[in-house]
């Protein structure tokens, strides 16, 4: 039963994608939306069924399906194989259910777009690729999904390809993630040569048994980390994600919530045993995550584009997940991934609806006072924003962020025997990030929905779009109660679900730790209210803010580095190649050869001609000379005879 259903999770979106793509122009917008939603919906239903089946068994149970062997060579083998265990079950539920809600929303959002068939073809393919990535039990098979996700993101970001800026953003996303993909592939090949297989179980068993030298483990972990960083837009690869806002809003929601950027987090969570053996890489990952979350939050604070704020906030939240992964609390990372998927999808979809109804205006300072015109959307956005900020008790974000914070507090990086690194500074950074998160998202809320009325809202949100918003609202408010800190009711469904054997990281934490996590978002909310929410905005009166904000808003810093490091050397190379020294040399040689051969030809022709003319002349002369003798005069003949006789006699006598 399960063996049949598991491939169907992948097959349903894939078939939907094929049908929608092939039927471009022959089906109406409604039919296309229905087919796509049915594909993803079927796969969501199957995921739920399989999850129920899996949960009814023991905790270590896993569903394994080997579809067919991919390659068998000496010392290496790979299969097209899929596994459904607890970790991939959580992920698959998030991907398919959030994906389904986004698809339903997109069916309403993209109704009037002429390219709707292409759009849904890519979207369902995106989901299918992500499902392959999540379910694959062979790392090489996972790499198919990994690349498929990258390809679909490229196609969707550049969906409105008429504008060169959009295609540039798509190319940028593609290149940036491609750099990470190269590193990931190198890491996988390193593992493959060391263990002879890329089956996850084999690899992890080999690593935990200590069969691999520590250097290989560290190198492989570092390379895989680079791949994950690029996919998840962490420092230093963060530049592609804000530009990826060029795509349609449901695409952004899909990329940020369910499919693309979470792939890096998921991969590391899957391979957490490998990373646990590489302590320096873990510490590096944690520091990088902390820096990213702080930078993302600061960047989000100064943006004026609604979608860009959300993009930077995604980078910041992914920083939290990497921080958690680096601290070894991968359960917390997965939990935050799940809640983040809910509220980020909600925020993006709501923002899309707001932007659509406000006449495609994305600047938050031109929007304003929208709470009267669209109360439903306001409620949805506020729900998403509170979940993102992690307002205590009532939102999902609070619980997941709390889990990360307590995990970070307890961590201790033992880099060498006597020298270690405490997690407390990282905890401080994470707390500061939480404060900034609340600050920037409520800044956005107050500016867009309160205050003076800006653009006039038109039309109304269709039911097709509002139903997914409602569902996501519920999920992002209540999706976190399955896992609670110990000071609140003892409820550890999520971590029990993932790994019941492991002792909980936040089982015995002091109460002030939870209190700090609860108060900081509220403080952020309060400060945001003071700065932007009141009738008389304090923000206007702070002097010198433009000098700070303007350089920070562009976010060009990293781009300049990339420009210097990668683009300009390439340009130089292209310039050199265009000069084409080799070609010039070859052409010059050819020209010289031709000239030499022409000269030689001429010289030879001259010499031969001269010789021939001389020879002809001599021959003619030689021909003429005997003629002279035959002059018919007898006396001359006699004289010659006498001369010859004399000569003959002289020769005989004198010799």
């Amino acid at each position: 039963m399960g063996e049949i259903l598991l491939p169907l999770i992948i097959l349903c979106p894939l078939v939907a994608s094929l049908v929608v793509s092939v039927s471009a122009g022959r089906m109406g917008a409604c039919a296309i939306g229905t087919v796509a939603c049915a594909g993803v919906g079927l796969s969501a239903v199957i995921s739920v069924i399989l999850s129920v089946m899996l949960l009814s068994g023991p905790a270590t149970d896993a569903l394994r399906v080997v579809l067919w062997p991919w390659m068998r060579i000496e010392g290496f083998s790979a299969d097209i194989a899929f596994t459904l265990d607890r970790v991939s079950m959580v992920m698959i539920l998030v991907v398919t259910i959030v994906g389904l809600l986004i698809h339903v929303y997109a069916a309403g959002y993209m109704r009037d777009d002429p390219g709707i068939a292409r759009f849904f073809g890519c979207m369902t393919l995106f989901v299918a690729a992500m499902v392959v990535l999540v379910l694959a039990s062979d790392l090489l098979c996972m790499f198919i999904g990994w690349e498929g996700v990258g390809l679909c993101s490229y196609l969707l970001i550049g969906f409105w390809y008429d504008d060169p800026a959009n295609t540039a953003a798509a190319r940028k996303a593609f290149y940036m993630t491609r750099m990470g993909d190269v590193a990931l592939l190198c890491g996988l090949l390193l593992l493959a040569t060391a263990t002879g297989s890329l089956r996850m179980g084999t690899v992890l068993a080999a690593v935990t048994d200590g069969q691999l030298p520590p250097f290989s483990v560290n190198a492989a972990a570092a390379l895989i980390l680079v791949g994950a960083l690029a996919k998840s837009a962490q420092i230093p690869f963060q530049t592609w994600l804000p530009d990826a806002m060029a795509g349609p809003t449901p695409t952004s929601a899909l990329i940020h919530a369910a499919t693309m950027v979470t792939a890096g987090v998921y991969l590391i969570a899957r391979l957490h045993d490998l990373f646990a053996m590489a302590a320096p890489v873990m510490a590096f990952m944690a520091v990088l995550g902390a820096l990213t979350l702080l930078m993302g939050a600061c960047k989000a604070l100064v943006q004026s584009d609604l979608k860009r704020i959300l993009a930077w906030s995604t980078i910041s939240q992914l920083g939290y997940m990497f921080l958690a992964l680096g601290c070894g609390v991968w359960q917390a990372a997965l939990f935050h991934l799940m809640t983040h998927a809910f509220f980020k999808a909600l925020l993006f979809l709501t923002a899309g609806a707001v932007i659509m109804r406000a006449g495609h205006e994305q600047d938050i300072f031109r929007l304003g006072g929208l709470r009267h015109a669209m109360p439903g959307l306001t409620m949805a956005f506020v729900a998403g924003a509170s979940a993102l900020a992690g307002l205590p008790l009532v939102t999902a974000g609070f619980y997941s962020k709390e889990m990360i914070l307590s995990g970070v507090w307890h961590v201790h990086f033992g880099l060498t025997r006597e020298w270690g690194l405490s997690g407390h500074p990282l905890w401080g950074i994470a707390l500061l990030g939480a404060f900034l998160t609340a600050l920037y998202i409520f800044r956005c809320v107050f500016i867009v929905f309160c205050g003076k009325a800006g653009t006039r809202a038109v039309g109304r949100t269709s039911r097709l779009m509002s139903i997914p918003l409602g569902c996501l609202c519920v999920l992002s408010l209540s999706g976190g109660v399955i896992e609670m800190p110990d000071t609140l009711p003892r409820l550890h469904l999520f971590s029990a679900l993932l790994d019941p054997g492991v002792p909980l990281s936040h089982a015995d934490e002091p109460i002030w730790l939870v209190l700090a996590g609860a108060i900081v978002p509220l403080a952020g909310l309060g400060v945001a209210w003071v700065l932007w929410g009141r009738r008389v905005s304090v923000m206007r009166e702070i002097p010198g803010q433009a000098a700070i904000i303007r350089p920070a808003r562009d976010g060009r810093g990293m781009d300049v580095v990339y420009d210097r490091v990668f683009v300009q050397p390439l340009c130089l190379l292209v310039w050199l190649t265009r000069l084409d020294i080799a070609d010039h040399a070859i052409t010059g040689t050819g020209r010289l050869t031709r000239a030499a051969s022409a000269g030689m030809f001429r010289a030879r022709a001259g010499v031969v001609d001269m010789l021939a003319i001389r020879a002809t002349g001599m021959a003619r002369w030689a021909d003429h000379l005997p003629g002279q003798f035959q002059n018919g005069r007898v006396r001359w003949y006699a004289a010659w005879i006498a001369t010859g006789l004399c000569a003959g006699l002289a020769m005989v006598v004198l010799s």
Binding site: P626, G627, Q628, F629, Q630, N631, G632, R633, V634, R635, A638, A639, A642
Partner: protein, 103 residues
């Protein structure tokens, strides 16, 4: 003791031959050329006679008679050619004009 020594004979024969040859080469007149040829033949005959006298052999005398006959025949043929040329309408004795066979 002969009146002439063989060396003197040979010297005389050489002189005669040279005179004859010079006559053949220098004179244009066919008749003179025939005469010069005869002189050359006589020089050769003189050598035979001198040799016969030197080695007391009669063969030299015989050879002289033969050369005499040859000279007579040659003169006869040469004169016949001259007459023939006259008969063909070339009333000249200049040998250089008869060069129709020139190459």
């Amino acid at each position: 003791m002969p009146a002439f020594s063989f060396n003197d004979t040979l010297l005389l024969a050489t002189v005669l031959f040279s005179v004859g040859l010079a006559g053949v080469l220098v004179r244009r007149d066919l008749v003179f050329m025939l005469m010069s040829l005869d002189i050359m033949l006589n020089a050769a005959a003189l050598v035979f006679v001198g040799a016969g006298a030197r080695w007391h052999d009669a063969t030299g005398q015989v050879m002289f008679v033969l050369i005499l006959a040859l000279a007579a025949v040659e003169t006869a043929v040469g004169l016949a050619i001259i007459v023939c040329l006259h008969a063909r309408g070339r009333p000249t004795l200049d040998a250089d004009t008869g060069n129709l066979l020139r190459g």
